[in-house]
Symmetry: C2
């Protein structure tokens, strides 16, 4: 049952007066549930509880935190069909997607649990004492990662499970040892409440401290601002728009004590199609990209919004084939009427620019919240002269840039803002002649893809989901994969600390059997 | 010979009109050399050259970058006595310190060279493809660290070698693959120029690209601001005051593309003396702390500016003994008359607060730029009520806080800003009763020290030199040790990338023999 209330720690509380609803885009009507926004007092209570929980939770063993994360996964599964139904009603996404995303979310939680049980993620480094060193003895120094403190998580609209209430940011922060306060995304507050209930049940079953997790209902302007400005909050995770992410980044930077904000924001994910790729495989790539552009109604941060090539007959053919293939696809629902409105506005703005040719636009009558996939083409010169053409249009939309030559293609790449991904489509040996293109592209992106599509983000240690600004607010971190835990930890050194008082990870015995760098050598052995 | 000019890449240029000199604090007079501040055009030229150099330097092998760093060390040694003389004239620090610090600086450069030759610092992570995985095949993903781009380094006043022109920030950034533009510290511009000449000679001898290093003369307000705001600058390293570091941090955060600033700033390095430590070892600790407080005229960022204990006869005895011991020490020279003035101002401000008792103050006539070591004591209550008492006084100065009981001691610790270090002095088993004290202290610091002094920063992998704000602007990084390279790199993932086009670090063969995480296992073996 949906209560319409915030979880302040384990308590469902709703003292406020502001009521909100969520929206069913398939039916184009509000959902029945009524939610109450958190009050200033409730917000402060949640953060205070998180700060109190931190005092104990920060020192919990990996095993104990792993049991919590696994219990969250179990409790999410236990919510069964009800959860999937609320998800589809609040997102317009199909049931299959809900199931797949739930699987991914559970997989993420379990991956962090495994990471905790293995234990080496703390990056233990030990340099033992050298009492006889001249002119001064060397002290004993031992370093490992410890959690930063309470983390605020802003879920994304387009992943109500995997990048939201108990998504990657929450899982990684809880794994680090940081209590989490979620700002529930206003488009799926019901889904968020159900997932939060699973987290709270898991916390109780595994005896976590009160306040280790809260889930607050409210707007970005009031709730979001209050959370990021709160002195007891020590870091922020965000997935969403550039405007939203930048506002939080600016707010955090202005605090008396600035705190890190990891914001994963906009990206148009450039794809470079090299001459032979379009010559020999235009149909294959046209089909693949028609699918990638429209997948999930184009509502992925890795959606390919820009395809760049050098003018040729084969690039023209690829353009035509992509137009044909994408026109065959039936439009699908967007997450919310406001997202659909933004899509229309953004698309219309780019279509209305000078020297733009519309090569595909789905024109039949469709449900008001369905998006009509659209592909434009422009010359390299036009693209370079008009910054508007490189703005992200969130949805099934892409621009094909036809450059005069390789030099212009490189200029186009260099002019791009930072991106999550960059893709090269190439055939045979031609790639060897384009090292300057690769070098320029690598400079702008977090992930390089060869002969593939950017949609589809594998959750594994080697994944980098982030990139130069504005793809993310700090290109040194990733939002996906177990290394995303590094956003929420800082190293602490212990100098000449008594062995028995050290965290287990740094004790001579290495009871946990973790990998440690001891006197410059990686080893799992104890120290004699 | 000192030319008085900036190095714009390898060119000594001085087109500007603004002339400055450095100051000899021992003689209380200006040094003879005249330096010309860089012009706006020269600044832009240096950054543009750095950006151009980045295009090739970023891909240089570890071996090639190591030869550059080792050559810098060699060239610094080759400067011989002349360098040490200019250092002492511009800093007032004794010859022995100059030699020691030069050794440390060379050691740092060689440590990064070794790190590069070993190669595992790139944190290579590889997840190989699983084509048969259901429902979707798993792609091949390989991740490693790549450099951010041109880095601006602001040297510190108190380490003209080790944290300046070719100090830790420069060495780590060059090791990462980032060209460096140094803002020469205005107090030791001559020392900076000589060290820069060594870097430039090393760059030529090892065929580094023009612009890989520049050394600019100018003020923080004009040169510093221009550098941090320059769109081609991608990161900033700073060591100095909170006001200076925060100004750069704010400037960088406001850029259209925000960039990371690692600023190592103020710290008063709290020391907790537990009851038995003062009871049984008051003389030993009084002597050690008299030395630590006055070492280098107190001009270390790890100088112990705060000693906290619980009121007792033995704490009183420790206070008296510290007073006696510190009074025996002959005052020494500060780096600059402005630093001496700030010391006097800060000390007088704290001495003038209500309910403060001065327990030691060197009162004899001394050279105008020598600092009279001073120790105050206050009650815990007074300290908690008056934030001014926790302000850093840069120099030989410390405040002893006498708390009513353990609770007040913990309250005092919790009220502190972030610190580089926190020290516990303890005797026998008593430490086991103070886990709450340790926990509170750990929350506020980057390094915990047991039964020692905070001065003395070992350069080794397990060192953490940084800490919660304002000890540093980002507690997730260190300024000392080879891990300081992580400030200047970001991971990039390669998806399904052809083996021959991958960086050597990620190729199947692992020709470099580095440690890599391959399918969740750390190994140096090639991939079959």
């Amino acid at each position: 049952m949906i209560e319409g209330k915030s979880y302040i720690g384990s308590q469902l509380i709703a003292e406020g007066d502001i009521k909100v609803k969520t929206f069913n885009p398939e039916l184009n009507e509000d959902n029945p549930w009524v939610f109450t926004e958190a009050t200033a007092l409730e917000i402060d209570k949640a953060v205070t509880l998180a700060d109190e929980a931190f005092a104990t939770y920060k020192d919990y063993s990996g095993e104990r935190k792993a049991s919590f994360l696994n219990a969250i996964a179990d409790e999410i599964v236990a919510l069964g069909d009800q959860l999937l139904e609320v998800y589809t009603k609040e997102s317009g996404l199909p049931r299959g997607r809900a199931e797949g995303e739930r699987g991914r979310t559970i997989g993420q939680l379990r991956a962090f649990a495994e990471m905790l049980l293995e234990g080496s993620w703390v990056d233990a480094v030990i340099d033992t004492a050298i009492p006889e060193r001249q002119p001064f003895p060397r002290v004993d120094l031992r370093k490992m990662n410890v959690p930063l403190g309470p983390v605020v998580v802003f879920g994304s609209s387009n992943f109500p499970f995997a990048f939201s209430t108990a998504g990657g940011d929450t899982a990684s922060a809880l794994a680090a040892g940081c209590p989490v306060i979620v700002k529930s995304h206003s488009m799926h507050v019901g889904t968020g409440e159900l997932v939060a209930s699973a987290v709270i049940r898991a916390a109780k079953k595994t005896n976590m401290p009160e306040g280790v997790f809260s889930n607050l209902i409210g707007s970005g302007r009031t709730l979001g601002t209050a959370l990021v400005a709160h002195p007891k909050v020590k870091a922020v995770g965000f997935t969403g728009s550039i405007a939203g992410g930048r506002a939080l980044f600016d707010l955090a930077a202005k605090r008396p004590e600035p705190i890190p904000v990891f914001a994963e924001m906009g990206s148009i994910n450039p794809v470079v199609i090299l001459p032979k790729a379009s010559e020999m495989n235009s149909k294959k790539w046209a089909t693949a990209y028609a699918g990638s552009i429209t997948m999930g109604t184009g509502q992925f941060c890795t959606n390919p919004g820009l395809i760049i090539g050098v003018k040729s007959d084969s690039l023209k053919r690829f353009t035509e084939e992509l137009s044909q293939e994408i026109s065959k696809i039936n439009p699908t629902c967007m997450l919310h009427h406001s997202i659909k409105n933004n899509f229309d506005k953004g698309r219309d703005l780019l279509m209305s620019q000078e020297n733009v040719e519309v090569i595909a636009k789905y024109n039949e009558d469709i449900n008001p919240n369905y998006a009509a996939q659209t592909v434009l083409t422009v010359s390299g010169k036009t693209f370079l002269e008009n910054k508007t053409l490189s703005e992200e249009v969130f949805g099934p939309f892409s621009v094909i840039v036809q450059c005069e030559n390789e030099d212009e293609l490189i200029t186009v790449i260099k002019a791009l803002d930072g991106q999550l991904t960059g893709t090269i489509l190439s055939e045979g040996d031609e790639i060897n002649e384009y090292s300057n293109v690769i070098s320029a592209l690598q400079n702008r992106v977090g992930r390089l893809i060869f002969n593939g599509v950017p949609t589809g983000v594998e959750v594994c240690p080697a994944m980098l989901h982030g990139g130069p600004y504005p793809a993310s607010s700090d290109s040194r971190f990733t939002a996906v994969g177990i290394n995303s835990v590094k956003r929420w930890v800082r190293p602490v050194s212990f100098q000449d600390w008594p062995n028995s008082l050290l965290p287990k990870e740094l004790q001579n015995e290495n009871q946990l059997g973790i990998s440690r760098m001891v006197n410059n050598t990686v080893t799992t052995l104890p120290i004699e």
